[in-house]
């Protein structure tokens, strides 16, 4: 990936700021070296696009307001294929329009980054209130079997850090990455500390490839058992490292050309999914608090993490043994860490700002030696849970 050094000092807004969530997301992406933004106006994302339109020319980049969300993500795919980091940002209804292109990017392993500032759904919903309704859609929205990575920040500082990290993850695993924000997190103003440009450069994690590595294979290769994956560099349009034809139809893994052979197609489809699923221990980021002696654990991702943290502190003060397992990445599900957690606790309390889109996924792993660990979902919408809601649920479960 190409990060222009002459503008990088400008892209990193070093200092301590009071930034809105949407602005923090924009600054995080600029610090990661994003040089192209294509978007369509939609509440509650508009501030991110406005900030990008002002900052991108200062940082050597181009801002395009496209005619619809489908054009936005298609333009981002085109820009990423030229070797630049690019992103788009949208909300739920726009994200639904982008699903065909997400599926296309997942097939061709194009590392695009999509920011989803979610709002209440379904339908047009409530545009200014939060609801994590696109969690399942991010992974299963497009046609076909594929996997993506989704990061879930809970503070404006984390929006900056995880937006930055999203680009690293996308490039490292060559997969579309989604930044999960929402109408609440996008609009609150919080303290964001942005380090110096040299500090941020160290965090960039750009891989250098030799010309031989670039010429070998266009797509990820794997061994026969589909356990070890070799993620090959993205073929860059306009260079000699681009194979003569990259089609949007299923290709054979070795040749990279389109195929109608069932065996080759099965191998390709499995590689696209398993390179993420079988490496979830390296990709998933979790935070664990007070789990060593916990009877009950909260589990959360995104802004309910703040409520769960507060509730855990209240419970501990009252002498209740409560821990907190926080998912900073929602997809892929951190299966290895979950198995460790299930050995430690007797029950899980899961506050989600939707009707339980991840609780169902967790229940699959909530079983130790044939004994089920109950997952108590607390669904909600259009705002945060209160800590007292969570504390009373803990008391109910422990009694």
């Amino acid at each position: 990936m190409i990060i222009d050094d002459e503008y990088y000092e400008n892209a990193v807004l070093t200092g301590t700021h009071l930034l809105m969530g949407n602005y923090a997301m924009a600054e995080g992406c600029l610090a990661a070296g994003a040089r192209f933004f294509a978007g369509y106006p939609i509440t509650p994302q508009s501030e991110c696009a406005e900030r990008m339109s002002e900052r991108l020319p200062q940082c050597g980049g181009v801002f395009m307001q496209m005619e619809d969300e489908i054009a936005s993500i298609a333009a981002v795919i085109g820009a990423t294929m030229t070797g630049r980091r690019a992103l788009t940002a949208t909300s739920g209804p726009g994200f639904a329009l982008m699903q065909e292109c997400m599926s296309w990017a997942a097939l061709l392993e194009i590392p695009i980054v999509v920011g989803n500032v979610q709002r209440v759904g379904p339908g047009s919903g409530i545009v200014t209130l939060p609801h994590h309704g696109d969690v399942t859609q991010a992974r299963r929205g497009g046609n076909g079997d594929y996997e993506i990575i989704m990061v879930a920040p809970s503070t404006c500082q984390e929006l900056f850090d995880l937006s930055f990290e999203a680009f690293n993850l996308a490039d490292e695993w060559r997969v579309p990455t989604v930044i999960m924000s929402d109408a609440l997190l996008g609009h609150i103003h919080e303290k964001v500390v942005i380090p110096s440009a040299d500090e941020m450069r160290k965090r960039l994690r750009l891989r250098k490839y030799t010309p031989d590595e670039r010429l070998k294979f266009a797509f990820t290769q794997a061994d026969k058992a589909l356990e070890n994956f070799e993620i090959t560099p993205l073929p860059i349009i306009g260079t000699k490292y681009f194979p003569w034809w990259i089609a949007s139809t299923t290709h054979s893994t070795k040749s990279g050309l389109l195929t109608e052979n069932a065996k080759q197609a099965f191998e390709t489809i499995q590689i696209k999914s398993y390179k993420i699923l079988k490496n979830e221990d390296k990709i998933a980021m979790v935070e664990k608090f007070n789990l060593d002696d916990a009877d009950v654990a909260f589990m959360a991702y995104g802004i309910p993490s703040r409520t769960a943290m507060e509730a855990m502190n209240i419970c501990r003060k009252e002498g209740l043994k409560v821990g907190f397992f926080r998912m900073k990445t929602v997809w892929p599900i951190p299966v290895t860490e979950l198995k460790v957690l299930m050995e430690q606790v007797k029950a899980i309390i899961f506050p989600e700002i939707n009707l339980g889109q991840i609780a169902g996924e967790i229940e699959r792993y909530a079983c130790v030696d044939g004994k089920k660990i109950p997952v108590h979902l607390i669904p909600h919408t259009s705002g945060l849970h209160t800590p007292s809601q969570l504390v009373s649920k803990v008391k109910e479960v422990l009694s």
Partner: protein
């Protein structure tokens, strides 16, 4: 590829342009194609290859964006790198490529269903923005790849697989649409005018701004067979007879011009091009916090 038979040695005499096509490079000079008998797209592929070879143009600066349709197989007979986009989204991808790397000039190859049905929104805005892209519209008047259904360019009254009683709607004129949206180079040719198309294509490659070149082509398998023109020469003649030049079209009434294609260079003007404006912004504001 799994279903394309690659011959061991070329049995037919070598075409001089064969070694420059993508499949010609693999087989030692004999290009492979999968077009139907009588299809005009093979000739278009040859015409494009000829321009690049004769004018000695650096093909790496012109990535092809091939959309979804019968012409999705054009990479077999084209001379350069091809990236296939989703149905109708090629121009949005071309915008992204041009804005991220302004040294490249994408050539976007569309079908009539791709550009004027699902992709019309992107077409209108690409023309309006005057991005430096060459749009080649291959108009065979039907949706060929999916089985010959009607397209927005099917002439009124003619049959297709989803219009067994004759097409009820009026077709759209891509040249008029491009003019209305502000395109700066607009031309229309047919597969009977490929020499003029090659000159037009060269002009479009040098033109700074959006260029639209439409090529009306024959589809024998669907449009021809459904409309009693099952022999390639019949459909070819049908197109040639219904194609009139701009000079001949002057002074004719709308009834006389119904279902006719007006060929020639319709527009050739200069306007500021978008990637130049965007990169000029960087020169003026780059480096300020």
């Amino acid at each position: 590829m799994s279903y394309i038979p690659i011959p061991k040695s070329p049995e037919k005499p070598e075409h001089p342009l064969g070694p420059f096509t993508n499949t010609g490079k693999l087989t030692g000079g004999l290009p492979i194609h999968l077009f139907c008998r009588g299809c005009g797209y093979g000739a278009v592929g040859q015409a494009i290859t000829r321009v690049f070879v004769e004018e000695n143009i650096d093909i790496k600066k012109y990535p092809f964006i091939v959309n979804v349709g019968c012409y999705s197989q054009m990479p077999l007979v084209l001379p350069g790198d091809c990236f296939m986009a989703l149905h109708g989204r090629g121009l949005a991808v071309a915008t992204g490529i041009k804005m991220a790397n302004p040294e490249l000039k994408p050539i976007s190859i569309h079908g009539d269903g791709d550009l004027l049905a699902i992709g019309t929104n992107h077409f209108v805005h690409a023309c309006r923005r005057n991005i430096d892209v060459v749009i080649i519209l291959l108009n065979n008047k039907v949706f060929g790849m999916t089985g010959g259904q009607t397209a927005p360019t099917t002439p009124t009254g003619y049959r297709a697989t989803t219009a067994p009683y004759g097409f009820e709607e009026e077709p759209i004129d891509s040249v008029e649409l491009a003019k209305a949206c502000g395109a700066t180079y607009v031309a229309r040719w047919t597969t009977a005018n490929l020499r003029q198309f090659m000159k037009s294509f060269k002009t479009a490659l040098d033109h700074k701004g959006v260029s639209l070149i439409e090529i009306v082509s024959q589809c024998i398998t669907y449009f021809g067979r459904k409309n009693k023109m099952a022999e390639p020469i019949q459909t070819f003649r049908f197109i040639k007879d219904n194609a009139i030049t701009i000079q001949q079209a002057k002074g004719k009434s709308p009834e006389e011009l119904k279902n006719k294609w007006i060929i020639g260079e319709h527009v050739n003007i200069t306007k500021p091009e978008l990637s130049e404006i965007k990169y000029d912004l960087i020169k003026r504001h780059g480096g300020k916090k």
